[in-house]
């Protein structure tokens, strides 16, 4: 068992390629071979056209903040997060056209804004899981 104290995603046959790539520092997205729709979070079928022909493709890792919140109180998640408060949870609109939820770090919470360009980096939590996080784009 890992000693990482906060919740981690489960790795399933569906999501294994994503988490393997995360370890290498690459952000993958599912793309539909039939209609080219990009999808996040991972699915078993294209939410647009219904094709099961989905492939993992490397994403640019760049996007913009669609919205964000500054978490100031832990409710219904690991008490471990209280050490990090205040921190930013954001929805990031990736350049490919899908939205991912993550943290914005490397900037004061009050300096985050909607529309801010951000880019991905990976935080190694355990040997299996590196979480994609975002920081202001250079």
């Amino acid at each position: 068992m890992s000693s990482y104290p906060k919740p981690l995603p489960e790795v399933t046959p569906l999501t294994k390629p994503f988490w393997e790539a995360s370890k290498r520092g690459e952000l993958l997205l599912q793309r539909c071979k039939n209609c080219s729709t990009y999808i996040w979070y991972p699915r078993h079928i294209c939410i647009n056209c219904g094709s099961r022909e989905l492939e993992w493709v490397k994403a640019s890792g760049k996007g913009k903040v669609y919205s964000y919140t500054i978490v100031r109180q832990v409710i219904g998640n690991s008490p471990e997060f209280s050490k990090e408060i205040p921190f930013v949870v954001a929805e990031i609109e990736l350049d490919e056209g899908a939205r991912i939820c993550s943290n914005i770090v490397g900037v004061k919470p009050e300096d985050v804004s909607i529309g801010m360009p951000v880019e991905v980096f990976f935080e190694e939590c355990t040997p299996e899981i590196s979480l994609p996080k975002f920081k202001p784009a250079r």
């Binding site: 906060k6 919740p7 981690l8 995603p9 489960e10 999501t15 729709t37 990009y38 999808i39 996040w40 979070y41 939410i47 647009n48 056209c49 669609y66 919205s67 964000y68 919140t69 500054i70 978490v71 100031r72 109180q73 832990v74 409710i75 219904g76 998640n77 997060f81 990090e84 205040p86 921190f87 949870v89 954001a90 929805e91 609109e93 056209g97 899908a98 939205r99 991912i100 939820c101 993550s102 943290n103 919470p109 909607i114 979480l131 996080k133």
Partner: protein
């Protein structure tokens, strides 16, 4: 489908007292089973029906946080001694009551049953076993980043809403303050201390821009609502509340990877409900929108057609939403002040609408209450948009 009048009505309603299980304050700490039993007994008393009158009729029950048995509807009717012909269970979270209501009136319209008993109780403050596991998308793609359930998702919807439409904290505060005023006139509301705008603005930030007073308060409690065919309802009460129309819509824009999280599916549901009932927003004498958060109320004021998209803030500046105003909103205090009984929270809006339309709302009675609109939301989706959306038009004597 249009012209749903004369088919089905609410013929009875019951709401137990609410509690936060503060035994130190003399509040009861009851189980969900006890609240179901209590609500059913209250309903039988109000309607004058005996339990055997419900044999061979319809029963709908919600999922509760605890117990969360795989065969819960069966367990519940066994506990309560009910023997229905039709038995359904809802799992639409905040929209549970609306979900049962639609299923019930469709069964009545089809002539399959004459009565449909809606039951909802929950005890989020005294869960006696493991709480239900939450959603997979929450576990895998939200919680690892420190999201705090719906609070974080709705805070982001609120931020985006403020950004796109220029809404100010005072607009959300108006909802909080006016609903509290209603709660002070509701003997069954949990929070009855009057609030000022200053109190709202000084309440602590839980997840910017979401403040404590933007969030509903959990209570333990139970509800029962009886739906009956129009003719059966008249035998039970001289004040049936007719179901004039309804609409629902789930997972709007399902095929898009990115959603506008400032608009709810109530827009589609309300259009259906207005068309079916033949009324317009101008005809509505009271509005009971789902209020897990203040921003949801602003969005539903827009999506139900009381003003244009993005203009709810201005609407709140120009209109009084108190029970004496142009558009009375959540006249019993809503979930923000009366309390959210967990997965049964959405019953509150139907009970309050029925109470108002029967002229039984006491000090907070809306004058000439004729048409009520209830809108319900359930399940905050991955991006912070609501998956389940309902609108129901109710009428007194038409």
């Amino acid at each position: 489908m249009s012209g749903f009048r004369g088919i089905a009505a609410i013929s009875g309603y019951a709401e137990t007292p609410f509690s936060r299980a503060r035994v130190d304050k003399g509040e009861p700490r009851l189980t969900a089973e006890e609240y179901y039993a209590w609500a059913l007994e209250l309903l039988l008393k109000q309607t004058g029906l005996e339990k055997k009158d419900l044999t061979g009729q319809g029963v709908g029950i919600i999922g509760s946080e605890w117990p969360h048995s795989e065969i819960w509807s069966a367990e519940a009717i066994q506990n309560l001694g009910l023997e229905p012909k039709l038995l359904v269970r809802a799992d639409h979270g905040g929209a549970n009551a609306a979900a049962l209501l639609v299923q019930g009136v469709l069964a009545i319209q089809a002539g399959y049953v004459e009565h449909f008993l809606m039951l909802g109780a929950d005890t989020p403050l005294s869960i006696t076993g493991p709480a239900s596991r939450t959603w997979r998308y929450d576990e895998n793609y939200l919680k690892p980043f420190g999201t705090m359930g719906p609070n974080s998702l709705i805070a982001m919807a609120m931020r985006r809403y403020m950004n796109d439409y220029g809404a100010k904290p005072e607009h959300f505060g108006t909802v909080s303050v006016v609903q509290r005023k209603h709660a002070t006139l509701n003997p069954n509301a949990y929070l009855k201390t009057p609030l000022t705008m200053e109190d709202y603005l000084n309440s602590r930030l839980i997840s910017d821009p979401l403040r404590l007073l933007d969030i509903c308060i959990w209570v333990n409690g139970g509800f029962a609502i009886l739906l009956s065919s129009a003719s059966a309802a008249k035998r039970i009460t001289d004040k049936p509340v007719s179901i004039l129309g309804f609409g629902e819509w789930h997972n709007p824009n399902a095929g898009q990877p990115m959603h506008d999280i400032t608009t709810t599916g109530v827009k589609i549901a309300a259009e259906q409900a207005y068309k079916m009932s033949g009324i317009t927003p101008r005809d509505v004498s009271l509005f009971q929108p789902y209020d897990d958060y203040t921003v949801a109320v602003l969005m539903q004021i827009e999506d139900a057609g009381f003003c244009k998209k993005g203009e709810a803030g201005r609407f709140l500046e120009e209109n009084d939403i108190s029970y004496q105003g142009q558009l009375p909103v959540n006249t019993g205090g809503g979930q923000l002040s009366a309390g959210q009984a967990g997965m049964a929270g959405g019953f509150l809006h139907f009970v309050e609408a029925a109470r108002q339309l029967r002229g039984e709302a006491g000090q907070r009675q809306v004058k000439d209450a004729r048409i009520g609109l209830v809108t319900s939301l359930g399940c905050v989706g991955f991006e912070g948009h609501f998956i389940n959306n309902y609108a129901v038009v109710l009428g007194g004597e038409v």
